[in-house]
């Protein structure tokens, strides 16, 4: 009689023991699969947060190393400004999703008929920008582009205005607007195409969160124009250049690594510039996510370890109770490896049924368990990869458990085993 038949006969005829180990394996595997699915859902959530909360860093002039000079307008720093080439070089570093740099002027605007567009206070609070999409005003949700497109670094004469300004003056996408910065100083008139219209989402009454009172300008009088157009407006007059630039990373968790890479750009004299990381939101959220992740990982490890200890104990007790059988099998000439293999096969027969059933049951219970950890049930999915992992690792652990359980009995000679049983 070969060991396969012996294993099948034992599994069937000792059905109570079989049932006990089956139930144990089914529960452990179900819990482990659910745990893995919850951990994955947790990781996905963390990745999503990393992608959506965003993080950025600011490059700004280091005024402490640049020296100072006195002019007609008072004291000013002689520190190097940030060039567009420098911005593009930094933006080419892997992991940077977008960037923006701007400087602010208060020009006057005229429509195609030459009529001045009326501003609430005096003129328009205007950003000369490289990528308006990454302007803090849009990223924070205070402004929302509702028509047309954002200003990009490829545009040379685009402008974005508020819906209120557009409606009050009958302006639509594609219309031309002329900007003049200092009419009294005969600065150049620059023609710009209206490429986008934004809505002011911010509520002035919600001053704590939304309204930036520092500029005194009404948000409807904010505009964004191409950096090139802004440069032309001040051509020959003044030195308005970029003092700081914002770079947004695609993965908030990688912010520090990206900054390290940026600092390696040798063509930039980093003595003249400071880099500041802006990832408070991510740090706060990731801290709580990390706590939950640690809890889930700890639970999975504890469940697996406790379960394996339990299984080893039960298998050890089962093997102990079969010491006499072991002695008999050895006495009739069956080799030790064959005896161990029979016991491994018996456990494998149970696992072959328990593992797939656990896969099915975990698909049912994982969602419910996931809700205990604040996960949406539909996001907690037990995949075939989870099953493959648990089946492979579980099988290896079971084989080890059976072998470990057999060692105390099999290190004796058959006579010792049988005389102990007598």
């Amino acid at each position: 009689m070969n060991l396969g038949i012996r294993a099948i006969l034992y599994t069937v005829r000792k059905w109570k023991k079989t049932l006990l180990i089956f139930c144990l394996l089914l529960s452990i595997t179900t819990l482990t699969l659910s745990g893995l699915a919850i951990a994955d859902a947790q990781e996905e959530q963390a990745e999503e947060v990393r992608g959506t909360t965003g993080a950025s860093f600011t490059v700004e002039r280091n005024l402490s190393t640049g020296g100072w000079s006195n002019g007609s307008d008072g004291t000013y720093s002689t520190q190097e400004f940030i060039s567009e080439d420098m911005i593009k070089e930094i933006a080419s570093v892997d992991g940077i999703a977008g960037y923006d740099a701007s400087f602010i002027l208060m020009p006057f605007f005229y429509d195609e008929t030459g009529k001045a567009l009326p501003a609430t206070i005096y003129s328009f609070f205007t950003y000369g920008t490289l990528n308006s999409e990454y302007s803090e005003l849009f990223l924070s949700g205070r402004f929302e582009l509702v028509e047309g497109s954002h200003i990009t670094d490829e545009m040379t004469n685009g402008i974005i205005i508020s819906r209120e300004l557009a409606e009050d003056n009958g302006l639509k996408i594609g219309d031309m607007i002329t900007g003049v910065c200092y009419p009294e100083n005969n600065t150049p008139e620059v023609e710009m195409e209206l490429v986008g219209i934004f809505d002011v989402v911010a509520d002035k009454d919600d001053q704590v969160n939304m309204y930036d009172a520092s500029s005194y300008f009404d948000y409807s009088d904010y505009t964004f124009c191409s950096m090139g157009a802004m440069d032309k407006m001040v051509e020959g007059w003044g030195d308005d250049e970029i003092e700081e630039a914002y770079f947004y990373v695609s993965d908030a968790a990688q912010l520090d690594n990206v900054i390290e890479e940026v600092k390696k750009i040798s063509s930039i004299n980093w003595n003249n510039f400071n880099i500041t990381a802006n990832d408070e939101v991510y740090q706060n959220i990731s801290s709580s996510l990390s706590d939950t992740g640690t809890l889930i990982t700890t639970l999975i490890i504890v469940i697996t370890v406790v379960s394996m200890v339990l299984i080893i104990l039960i298998l050890s007790m089962s093997v102990r109770s079969r010491k006499r059988e072991m002695g008999i099998l050895l006495a009739v000439g069956i080799a030790k490896p064959s005896v161990i293999l029979q016991y491994v096969l018996e456990t494998a027969l149970i696992a072959v049924v328990a593992f797939p059933l656990a896969y099915l049951s975990s698909r049912q219970v994982a969602g419910t368990l996931g809700t205990l950890f604040g996960k949406a049930a539909e996001n907690v999915v037990v995949t075939s990869q989870h099953f493959a992992l648990v089946a492979v690792v579980g099988s290896i652990l079971l084989i080890i458990a059976v072998i470990v359980s057999c060692i105390p009995a099999l290190r004796f000679k058959p006579k010792q085993i049988l005389s102990q049983m007598e």
């Binding site: 012996r6 006969l9 000792k14 050895l330 009739v332 000679k413």
Partner: protein, 211 residues
Amino acid sequence: MNIMELKNVVYAYENKKKVLKGINLSVEEGKMYAILGPSGCGKTTLLSLMGGLDSPTNGQILYDGQDIEKMGLSAHRKNNIAFIFQSYNLIDYLTPKENVALTSKLPPLPILERVGLTDEESKRNVLKLSGGQQQRVAIARALASDAKVILADEPTGNLDEDTAADVTAILKECAHQMNKCVVIVTHSNELAKQADVIFRLRKGDLQIAAN
């Protein structure tokens, strides 16, 4: 011709106490041997050494002229020896038929019938058989193995008088009609009297008591 030979076999327990002090023994096919002796004198140990269940501290055990240690004890147990134990030692989740088939490719039913078990009894759970029936199954398992040497440790120790007589008769048949070498360890004079050769084990020494 000697099928098994023990040369100056010594066995000491872990506490160094010698239970066998240089045993020399030769046994032949077609004969039934009995080893008599009081409890604890080392009879079972001697049988275990012959059967490869344990190794001697010193000395040599030969089967068909070959050292069983060199042959491999597991192979020796599998190919050359069949055991019959006082407590039967049957596998409890196998039927008598399956117990007999454990190490044999011979059809088990004729062998079980030969030792007196019916077809119906052969399919029962072994634990539901009487002691005598279980010992018959153990004998059938020994016969089915086709080994030339049958080692029986107190084979009638747990049986009533009539059943013991039946089992003794089967063992004698094994030796005389099936040309097996049957070595029985017992403290029963009645059983020993049925043997062709009787040895007495006393204080670690083996002596022929009757031939």
